[in-house]
Structure formats: C-alpha cells, structure tokens
C-alpha cells in the first residue's frame, strides 16, 4: 500500500501524526492503540497495511521493555528509516509524557471534576471493546488447525496460568519454527 511518490519528510510527519493520535486515546496502555493505529497507518495514510502493523506489534512483544515503543521504532524504520523510527518514538512518548505531567500538575484542580473522570471511564470501557476487536481481527486470520492451537495456547497460558507474555510469545514463535521445519521435511523433500 506504500506510495512511492510520497516524499520522505511527508512520511515522517505522517508516522508521527498516526502514532500521536492513536496513543492520545489509549487510556488502558499501548495495546488499546492497535486498532486505531492500523486504521491510521492503512486507511488514512497508506503507509503500511494492517497485517504488517500487526506483525511488528507481535515482534514488539518478543522483546523486553515498552512493547509499543519496540513495535513503533520497527514500524517507523521500516517505512522511512531512522527518521521514521524517531518520529514514531516521539509520537508514542509525547502523549504519555505530557499527559502524565499534566495530570500530576493539575490533579488537584481537575481530577475531581466528575465529567472528566466519566469521559475517561467511558474511553477505558471502549478500550476493552477496541482490544477485543483487534483480537477478533487476528482470529479471523486463523486458517489452519495449528493457528487455532496457537491462539488457544496463547490465551489460556496468559489468562488462566498467568504466564508472562514474552515467554508465551517466544514459545509460540518456537512452535512456528518447528512447524516450518516439519513442513520442509514432510512436503518438500526436493528442497533439501
């Protein structure tokens, strides 16, 4: 979906805008921004398609530290090199940094305003719906039996057994490698 005609500086500006905008409304953490980010990156700016955004988001979970920032730097670099990576990082950090400072400084004045709390509670409830739709969008990608097995494994291990996300992601990735090795051995002996 990438348009080669776009100038580098325009891409960098759009990466920043897409990230800033989607993070601004993510009140339950970075995960909630995924569906809005996909919409901005794919439908609005045509910088990267939904599935590729998802692929980098998954990679972000495979590293320690801030998941959205891991994913954002990879996405930005993939689209526009280092300037893109920095633009994505700035777009992720700015709303969280200034938002938190703003809340810390003004809590005594606006924290008690019930309409502001109500609006944020409303957006937090909506975030659950957004995260659900991101999950359903991935379930719709599942084609084979092994895909379903991975989905159930990842869900059950994190939800009911409290496994760490990074451990589960690496385990599933390892199973994916095993499957690739199995397929190579079973179906295409001529490739050896």
């Amino acid at each position: 979906m990438e348009q080669p005609s776009k100038s580098q500086s325009r891409k960098v500006r759009e990466i920043f805008a897409a990230y800033f905008f989607s993070m601004l409304f993510a009140f339950t953490g970075g995960n909630a921004s995924l569906s809005l980010l996909q919409q901005q990156m794919d439908d609005k700016y045509h910088l990267m398609d939904r599935e590729k955004v998802l692929e980098f988001f998954a990679l972000g979970q495979a590293l320690p530290g801030v998941i959205s920032l891991n994913a954002g730097i990879l996405i930005g670099r993939d689209i526009a090199g280092w300037p893109g990576g920095l633009a994505a990082a700035a777009g992720i950090i700015a709303p969280a940094f200034f938002g938190m400072l703003f809340i810390a400084l003004t809590y005594n004045y606006i924290g008690g305003v019930r309409y502001i709390r109500g609006a944020i509670q409303g957006i937090r409830s909506a975030s659950i719906g957004l995260i659900l739709t991101s999950g359903v969008a991935i379930i719709r990608l599942a084609r084979r039996r092994t895909d379903w097995a991975l989905l159930v494994l990842a869900f059950a291990a994190t939800m009911f057994f409290g496994w760490n996300i990074l451990a589960v992601i690496l385990l599933c990735g390892f199973l994916g490698i095993l499957e690739a090795a199995w397929k190579r051995k079973g179906n295409k002996p001529e490739c050896m």
Binding site: F25, L63, G65, V66, I73, I93, A96, L101, Q121, I128
Partner: protein
Amino acid sequence: MYVKLFLLFCKLGFVSIGGGYPMMALILQEGSAAVGLTAGEFADMAALELLASGPIAINAATYVGYIKGGVAGAAFATLGVCVSPFVLTSILYFFLSRFKENRYVQGFLGAIKIASGGILLTTAGILSRNILLLDHTIGEVLAAPLENVQWAGVLITVLCAAAILKWKASPILMILVSAVLGMLLLS
C-alpha cells in the same frame, strides 16, 4: 538524582518482560531501593496512571521522575526507559532485514502474529475484570450481578466492539461516542 533516575528506568527497560503491567511490580521493588520510592507514592502513581493515555511504562517513568526530580527528573526517567527499545530493536532489525525471506523466520513471525490474538483476548479479559467488575471477586459478582457490575461500562464495551466489527465504524468515532456516554452514564 537525575543520573539515578535515568539508570533506574534504563535498567527496568531491559529487565522487565511482558509490557507495562509486569513493569509496575518491578518499579515499586527497584524504585524504593534506587530512588526511595514509597508505597504511598507508588499507589498515587497507579491511581493517576489511569487518567493518562499512552504506554503504562512511560506514564510510570514520567511520574516517578517528576515526584523525585521535577520536570527534568521526568525527562531523564522517560529517556531512560527508552534506551532498551532503541538498542534491542536495532539488533532485531539488523537480523530481520537480512533473514526476512528465511522460512524459519517466516514461521516464527506467522506464529507470534497469531499468538498475539490470544494475548489481546487475555488483555481484554483482565481489563474487563478491573474496569467492569467494580473491584469484587467473581463469587461476589455472581451472587449480586446487578450491584457489582459496571453495566454502563459493559454497554459501552459491547457497543464499541459491535459497531466496529459489524458496521465497520471508525475506532475514533467510537472513542468519542464512548467519552460522551461516559460523561452521561459514568459521572
């Protein structure tokens, strides 16, 4: 203090695995040793974090930096937490750009992409428990569902998911609608 804050969050970026929520537990533990973070300050942070948008780990770094070293402290702590993503993604990107066509790398990427779906459902489940169940145990909720469930929140969640999945509504429209509904129903 600025150096301490930077180093504390730099370290947390490398050792905390699995995103913002697991990092919060480490912040209390490591923060009290490194910069004298108290349990009360930590509780304030957890409460205020709910009102700020963006990644939880960055909110946390900004807040701890701010109460321990003012605005400059907030900047140093936030910079610290950003070190690990830049370093680790650089290493990953280096390998990824060379072995992208490799079938095993493709197998790994395909599998983690699908697994993210399960993890997102878990996140939705945990958030539902925190936001929609009003701090009660499952037993208490089942005993008195009318009082112990935030029904207006459930309505917003379901409306939002249905509108996007069924009617292809834009996520941003649903966020704005939810903010208005929240003002009316949850204030």
